[in-house]
Assembly symmetry: C2
Homo-oligomer: 460 residues x 2
């Protein structure tokens, strides 16, 4: 009973496709048509004959072909019956979008689902879920219209999210910022498939290099611990726990019908299982980016270079605050740089290349640092607003990064002109950050992850 068909089904039945374009089932149907899904699509609605030129079946039982995945968007009371029909039709993987179960106190109806699931040995995501988006197969059960929520390009981050709203809006935001995704799963009430099942599956998923996780409550603590322990040795898991305070925990009860439990216990489990804990959504993606793109560093010693003195100061402030180690340039490097750099430049860490730094000056320093055995990671701050930085700085950075000798992390803050450069770097495998603090905290996680785990490399 694999989860594979949730992501790779060659045929899908959408059950509950209304004629009304604003209704959930219709939106999902449209997303399959418009999103580039290459499998076969079947529509189920007993009250229609045709919807958007697709024949509408009264029940999945009437469909003459094999179905690998069903998506259910009918009123809650009908869901058990529909699920039963899926069982009889031998559809093993089912996503239930419909809400109105445990999360509104309707435990009885949710119990009914459990019974059908057991009887037919089904695998079910949901209910009360957005379901699945797979950037490769274009399976897309998210009932958010594509013009309101952009779908991400293919990437290597997978995001497992208990909350549909958090998940979808953050995927939307991250897409606008240029992130790619492998899979996004919002699993709602988790009547069957839970966070641990999904993490376990993603552990073996070739498209997934980094797993992000938003949870309010874990269904089975022991299972979660064991799965995460295993998977975090293969690839990083970054998690946020919603409901860490008393007020937050209270609010989770009415959200997905689960009591959040003590934050300390969760944080203990995170630690034991090798999960990287993020304080907030912004951190989660900042961490995911560095872990996705960077090669493993040999150690934690960071050399900072900058053409803006203030940024260098903010960076080393952040390093001291977060326990990230400042590299000490070797005497050889110092000599070489002293010989080749203008006198006014202090050969230090941070290496302030000052406001009139050219791309060539950066190249000189990057090359020297790449050879220096005292340096494990390069944090390069480039402010491209100054007239002397030419656009070839992008080539210089990408070429240095392509050597795959040491992780390079770039900080660059600005408007449209900066953004074009930043995107280019990111698309070529260099993580970039707007604020030095964010870069430093990401570096901290990178160092920690590879120190702890036996993973050789996340990136190919």
């Amino acid at each position: 009973m694999s989860l594979d068909n949730f992501f790779n089904a060659q045929s899908v039945a959408i059950i509950g496709v209304s004629r009304d374009p604003n209704k959930v089932g219709h939106v999902i149907f449209r997303n399959f048509i418009d999103g580039g899904y290459r499998g076969k699509i079947f529509v189920v609605n007993p009250n229609a004959e045709n919807i958007l030129n697709y024949r509408s079946y009264a029940s999945v039982l009437d469909i003459p072909e094999k179905i690998e995945l069903a998506i259910v968007a009918v009123p809650a009371e009908i869901v058990p019956k529909v699920l039963e029909e899926c069982g009889r039709k031998k559809i093993q993987n089912i996503i239930i979008i419909s809400a109105g179960f445990k999360e509104v106190g309707n435990y009885k109806l949710e119990k009914k689902l459990e019974n059908v699931i057991k009887r037919y040995k089904l695998r079910v995501i949901g209910p009360n879920a957005l379901g699945v988006f797979d950037a490769y197969s274009r399976i897309d059960s998210l009932f958010l219209p594509r013009f309101r929520m952009s779908r991400p390009k293919e990437g290597v981050i997978s995001f497992v999210c208990q909350s549909g709203a958090v998940g979808s809006s953050i995927v939307d935001l991250a897409t606008a910022e240029g992130y790619g995704f492998a899979k996004f799963i919002s699993y709602g009430n988790a009547v069957d498939v839970d966070e641990s099942d999904l993490i376990d599956y993603l552990g073996d998923d070739e498209n997934t290099k980094v797993i992000c996780l938003y949870i309010e409550a874990v269904k089975d603590g022991r299972k979660f611990l064991e799965v995460c322990k295993k998977v975090s040795k293969k690839k990083p898991i970054i998690a946020i726990k919603g409901g860490v305070t008393e007020a937050g925990a209270k609010a989770t009860l009415s959200h997905t019908g689960s009591l959040a439990g003590s934050a300390e216990i969760y944080f203990g489990v995170f630690k034991q299982s090798g999960i990287i804990r993020a304080e907030n959504l912004e951190d989660m993606f900042n961490f995911a980016k560095i872990l996705e793109k960077c090669i493993p560093p040999k150690g934690g010693r960071v050399q900072v270079m900058t053409n803006g003195g203030g940024y260098g100061i903010l960076a080393v402030d952040a390093m001291a605050k977060n326990g990230v180690e400042l590299a000490k340039l070797s005497n050889e490097t110092k000599k070489e740089l002293r010989k080749n750099l203008p006198k006014i430049i202090n050969i230090e860490n941070p290496l302030d290349l000052v406001g009139d730094a050219t791309s060539a000056r950066y190249k000189l320093c990057i090359d020297a640092c790449m050879k220096d055995e005292n340096i494990d990671i390069l944090l390069i701050i480039v402010l491209v607003q100054t007239p002397l930085i030419a656009t070839d700085i992008v080539d210089i950075l990408i070429e240095a990064n392509d050597l795959k000798k040491k992780p390079i992390v770039v900080v660059s803050a600005g408007g449209e002109y900066t953004e074009v450069m930043r995107r280019n770097l990111e698309e070529n495998g260099i993580p970039t950050y707007t604020y030095p603090e964010d870069a430093v905290r990401a570096i901290q996680q990178l160092v920690k992850y590879y120190k702890k785990s036996r993973v050789v490399s996340v990136t190919k």
Copy 2:
């Protein structure tokens, strides 16, 4: 000897305009021409007759008209002589862009400047500075080409920044995010005009409602304390201190030639003088936005409403962490909402309006909260990806905010579709945030500021 002409001069002499379009003086000259400055522009370069069809003078002494502001971009060694000429020409306000003074150990040359300044009673910003950008007069001494660094629209935030690179890149970034500015000043080595003078001036500046400050070291601690004490009663001052750790402090020495001093002393001074301390650049602008836009709250009790349960949880988590008070709905409000909202909605804080919330449902709740004496501030989370939120949510929010009864703060995360809505809200006076945590920490500062100060309102 007012600072007024730095921002409102009707005539400006740019001294050291090269023919080379990449040179500092030329870039500044271009920015005056292209940026919409309405005063008279004079060019000084003894080696040219005409530059871009402007007559070039050998010295300011040759200019037959009165000059209110000089901008100096000549090699460091010549600056004292040029300054002397400005004195003789009775130009009282001078911005020195040129670097190569105290910050590179050339204390002697900086001393020479001091002498000329005293002799002629000049007011000088710089040296080693970007100088001034004024969004209203379009005075713009920033030597960053306009195609690399966008200039902000007119606004009410003024930003005083010791570091040119931090200042300009952050203004560039903030501009792209839709912020408006009144004035931006990068004052470099502060041979004469220092941070305190500028803050004092901005305290009386009608265009400035919020003052942001990045400092590495303060020149005169007592003066700073007194000025900020006075000004922070009139308008909020938000400050970041660069060089708060030992490593950071060490790096400041080679940046602007000033020793940073103990962070604890600075933080003590911030507290005593009513300065709002920001941990990082992101916070600084998040705080500036709420202080710029919101009316003073009567108290600190916040009601959260959301159509994404997870966001509500993250918001109340952040409130508990940051000591922001959850409002308790009055019995009257509870009754009214219970009567009018679907049964599955818990009348609580956070008020989870659930995924099928319409704009009408939001309006109902906003109206009820506006009447409720137990609520001081509304934190409204709206995820517009769901098909049932219509675009009239924007009208509903703006209309409610326009009543000026209680501060409204909005959280909305997403891509392009969300961004259009978010911009609309911001332009109509509602501060918006991507992440609940950021909104909550901004609210914390809003409450703190109005609790402490006797200010009635920053906004008109």
